[in-house]
Point group: C2
Chain length 439, copies 2
Amino acid sequence: MRMTEFFMPILRENPAEAQIVSHRLMLRAGMVRQAAAGIYSWLPMGLRVMDNIAAIVREEQNATGAQEVLMPTIQSADLWIESGRYEDYGKEMLRITDRHERPMLYGPTNEELITDIFRTSVKSYRQLPRNLYHIQWKFRDEVRPRFGVMRGREFLMKDNYSFDLDFEGGKRSYNKMFVAYLRTFARMGLKAIPMEAESGPIGGDMSHEFLILAETGESQVYCHRDLIEFDPNEAALDYSGDLQPIVDRWTSLYAATDEQHDAARFEAEVPADKRVEARGIEVGHIFHFGTKYSKPLGALVTGPDGEQVPVEMGSYGIGVSRLVGGIIEASHDDDGIIWPESVAPFRVGLINLKAGDGACDAVCEDLYAKLRGAGIEVLYDDTDERAGGKFATMDLIGLPWQLVVGPRGVKDGTVEVKRRLDGERVTLSAEDALGRVQG
Amino acid sequence: MRMTEFFMPILRENPAEAQIVSHRLMLRAGMVRQAAAGIYSWLPMGLRVMDNIAAIVREEQNATGAQEVLMPTIQSADLWIESGRYEDYGKEMLRITDRHERPMLYGPTNEELITDIFRTSVKSYRQLPRNLYHIQWKFRDEVRPRFGVMRGREFLMKDNYSFDLDFEGGKRSYNKMFVAYLRTFARMGLKAIPMEAESGPIGGDMSHEFLILAETGESQVYCHRDLIEFDPNEAALDYSGDLQPIVDRWTSLYAATDEQHDAARFEAEVPADKRVEARGIEVGHIFHFGTKYSKPLGALVTGPDGEQVPVEMGSYGIGVSRLVGGIIEASHDDDGIIWPESVAPFRVGLINLKAGDGACDAVCEDLYAKLRGAGIEVLYDDTDERAGGKFATMDLIGLPWQLVVGPRGVKDGTVEVKRRLDGERVTLSAEDALGRVQG
């Protein structure tokens, strides 16, 4: 993509309304634009990142055997009345009346609707286990939306729902998601730590939050330092095998958010030099809640003995739009964003220091064509801005690799390669530079 | 995907509520499930098709230079009050009041919001032309939602918006979309005919609807027969070149829907043997409306002469979820759906006539692995249903190719290949069968 054509309305100044770094950088880098309080339009740069995140989530979900569906945003209130949550949910639920005066709502979550799909489709234990997910916009009418996409009102979430015959099956489904979440966040360059959690309005008797550590995190967290060093990538992961040992390893050490924190237990279980107190950002939450919805909604299956039993359920959420902000909170410096390669909007930024100069243009066009030919996403700064402005913009938007082409280098047949992560610069031939950014 | 694992709740009986064939077949094939009146959940089979359609739309939009963004579903009423449409839009607009009693709405279209993004980002004619699109859920509170996804309330639409300095630029942007639409629908196996249209609540002075012909179409259409034979694939299409000749070719012959039909002109312009009167389904609609929104919303750019002028705009819609139904209306038979290869949920259906038989299982597993290895989407019927049921299901769901493996063929080393489109069957070696379905 040529920068002269790319719709990327950069802000030179820090926007006054942004209190946290991810909000500030997303506005400055032209990733989002506020449409209303807590509601954002995603501009091309932001959408590219969100799509990359969603793709990783989707791949890791599919790897577990979960299948993708897509439930609507607007739901009838009927099912929520049936489950008993319609009154409970409070003012965070956006309630709507349609033209026929029927009560509707913008789904803040989908336990009721998926249970309805299940109860009309699945009748026998032989059709279990079943895990269905979707990636869809949700709405929670926060009283004070803030922090940009980190606590917006309309947000994109992956939520899925597991259905099993009994508790043991439910535990297996829970474990699959537990492990899939570790892998999902690791692929985004994040170190997410599972912590015991309250289940809140979803309900349930087993629940973990996944938090990433960041100075600006919304929650105070307490954990054993070894958790931060654990490698979330299991050598030969088999989702049909027993995942309990993996889950046990991660849950054997102390990790809790503020609400669940037990200072006495923390001190008893964790040696002083291993105690971590830090700030965290929630990026995922998993619940096992058994028959909380299947009972009132009558989602029954016939078991092997011919008896009808309510199905065991769990639900599992990842905040997809929130992760865009979360990754920035965890990965930035004073100059701007530092995108992990897996989610970067473009892998390479190509800077032409003298656009309009025949020799520089020729080298840049050649690199641009070769990168594209190799299937590498590249943003080519072909504008006539000053060099200082170009460097600042490229650092701000945080692409992992920068290729800098200027008159002096062109004369010597060289290109400068800068790695955004650590600022390392090397001067290479064009060919070697291409090899380097291709990794 | 193995059918024993795939979530595909087939209905054996015709659902009573479905009045048209696409609605009936989508329910029977387990593609969608109604969540509320005019609101659907998309199950895996339906979502796969909708994703394939969206991918084609996206590719063809990107080819024109349009860039993807994503605006939210919920909008503030403020912008609509500013444009003057808030009162005009009537009861089809889903109006919402948030917890702070602010008037919001579920966007039925996005002219106001995109104009707001534009006016705060683009200031000079040098940043034009600009074309931004998104693929997002919309809501129109139809008084009588019906015909399944063909006239739902919550629907997925691709809408984009062009911004140009003057009318001539606007015309070029309009022509790009005109040509892109012809290509887009052709790739889905559809013959879409552009017809002069009224612009309705969007407003404007130049507008075409794209209709596909189907017996069950909602509109009466009148056109010159030659339009049906025109090839929408231009040999060497260059979007930066002059597209007017292509547009002229398609608009030189009579084509009109009911509302615009002029019987006298039809008879004068079209020879009797070339007159087609048929039913049509609208799948796209394009508008040029000049400064209708840029003036009231103050979307001004500085022209080459330093004067500030309101930007010229157009908008362009494709009904993505509606197309799923539209393609079925145009492509089915008494046995079920006939998917064009480009949008099929799976390319191949592999039928094991004797699941559990060692020899049949071995041949099927081998074919299944080889197809997947070749990157071909395959649905493997590994259930223990009777042969008749398997054939009926495979015809119902309409995958382009069927591979049938039975004990007799296995003994002879052969597989039956059936093409769903014309029912043609050939008996081939496993290797040749693979070659045939790979196309």
